[in-house]
Amino acid sequence: MTAITDSNQPVTPKAPIILVEGLAKSFGKVTALNGISFQVQPGELFGFLGPNGAGKTTAINILTGLARADAGTIRIDGQDCTRNPKAAQHLIGIVPDESNLYAELTGFDNLCFCAALYGMPKAERVDRAHELLKFFGLTEAGRRKFGGYSKGMKRKLTIAAGLIHRPRILFLDEPTTGIDVASARQIRQLIQDLHGSGTTIFLTTHYIEEAERLCDRIAFIVDGQIVLEDSVPHLLQPLQNKHVLLLYVLGADQQLASQMAEAFPGGQVEVAAKDQLRLEAETPIPLAPLVNFLAGRGREVTEARRPSHTLEDVFVRVTGLQVDMLKKEKEKSTGGGQ
């Protein structure tokens, strides 16, 4: 792959490229950010995961200079951006959650214009625009007006615009929300390629599986507060010793769950969904005694599964929020989904 960002610039070893301490922001009586602190290391893919209204976009807006913090400090590449966000804007590329390029310009002209905003000379910006259009598979579309692009193409060109000046840090706000499955997959691959080329990426998403697959480290943000922050393996660690069994039983209810919990002590039993029981224990859960127990009560097990632990389990455990509801809420607001 062609190096799409300038990863050869010197970076101070181990010094965080983004350092945020006590960041707070309120809109009237609504607290958007409640004193959050975190660090992002150079070359890291850092995920900011949370439901709608958790404060993800507010945090990005403050970090990039589109909003002001009420309190706290921000240092980007060692520069104090708390009072002067312009100090680091040449280092960062931003891909907002909604494409904000110019509908009346062609894809190529949009990229050249964005390059000019960073002071790139004409020959350089033309070369760079062609390079990015080719990289994103938009060479033909580059001659057409941006307003006529599909959602996936718009998102790709918006990412290309964020990369036009070879930023060291790329902020991606919900990059795969509202686009088709194929485009979302392509964009995830692009993110992985960018990460591989050494670009620091700050990714916000509400797709937990996406964050799990892509990110080195993840912070869960809920109601303006970071409730958990760690590397993906570390986040999953507390669940590694847990054994889970999902049983699909017609008419499973709370009463049945309670009876099973009594009959098989040492674990938890709950109704996870309609006709679905979830058993969790510290030791392996044998299936046969459970099937026999249920058969003795006239219940048939139609399916049994031992799911592996995912970040979704961690998220639900930490926040108490239902992931499916969050996805539906977001997709309704963007008019699309994956």
């Binding site: 804007q89 907002p96 000019a116 905003l117 002071g119």
Partner: protein, 245 residues
């Protein structure tokens, strides 16, 4: 140097995307033509009235041309979030806004000279003091553009910008001495006239075109320049306070 590359390209983009579009070009021609025709017919006199109408038509062409465009190039872009892309670039805010308003300033200047070309076909302009007309037109265009910017950053919707503009524009036609002298206004309205930047620009034009200015040129130039600086700084302050929340 990098900042000026950005400045130039913002201006070029706006010219291509907005100002050089056929509807705007035709609007820039038809609007002054309509005003000239209307006042010429209303005056009921012959071609000798052309010079008395010309300063007012020039000023009103600039005022409407610049303030109308700002609601599109600024309010519309803010509304559809493409303005955020400009705010996220490493350009100082003052230079960014100067770039965003330069197209309107040029548009206003060109609009002003449409009635001049038409007047040249109807009457003799040899007595006009162009060394006063040109800087006056530039300053009127600057003041009107920055007034438009002030309005554009005070609202969030394009239609609000248009209606709020009219709140300033229509009273200014009557209060700023465009077609009737400020002295002929009721005494209680005259102080209001001197609070409006267009009064000073139009007074210079009346002096330069037909030798009938009421204020000293340095005073008029100084005051309209002061209005330009104040409106621009006030707009920057509003952007910083309202748009960078």
């Amino acid at each position: 140097m990098k900042h000026w590359i950005a400045f130039w390209n913002i201006l070029l983009k706006d010219l291509r995307a907005y100002y050089l579009k056929p509807p705007n070009i035709s609007w820039g021609l038809i609007f002054p033509l309509a005003w000239t025709g209307m006042f010429f017919i209303r005056s009921g006199s012959g071609l000798e009235s052309t010079l008395s109408i010309l300063p007012g038509v020039m000023a009103v062409s600039i005022l409407f041309g610049t303030t109308s465009m700002l609601s599109v190039t600024v309010t519309f872009e803010k509304r559809n979030r493409s303005f955020d892309r400009l705010l996220l670039s490493p350009i100082p805010l003052w230079l960014l806004m100067l770039a965003k308003t330069s197209g309107a300033i040029l548009f206003g200047i060109l609009n002003a000279f449409v009635p001049v070309v038409m007047a040249a076909l109807l009457t003799d302009l040899s007595a006009v003091n162009w060394s006063l007309v040109v800087p006056a037109v530039i300053l009127i265009s600057l003041a009107s553009t920055f007034l438009g910017l002030f309005i554009a950053v005070s609202v969030s919707e394009v239609f609000e910008a248009q209606t709020f503009s009219n709140f300033f524009r229509f009273p200014m036609i009557f209060l700023c001495g465009l077609f009737m002298p400020v002295a002929s206004l009721p005494v209680y309205l005259q102080p209001l006239s001197y609070l409006l930047p267009l009064t000073y620009g139009v007074d210079i034009l009346h002096g330069a075109i037909r030798g009938q200015n009421h204020l000293a040129y340095p005073l008029s130039f100084g005051l309209i320049f002061l209005f330009c600086i104040s409106l621009f700084l006030l707009s920057l302050r509003n952007i910083y306070r309202k748009w960078i929340l």
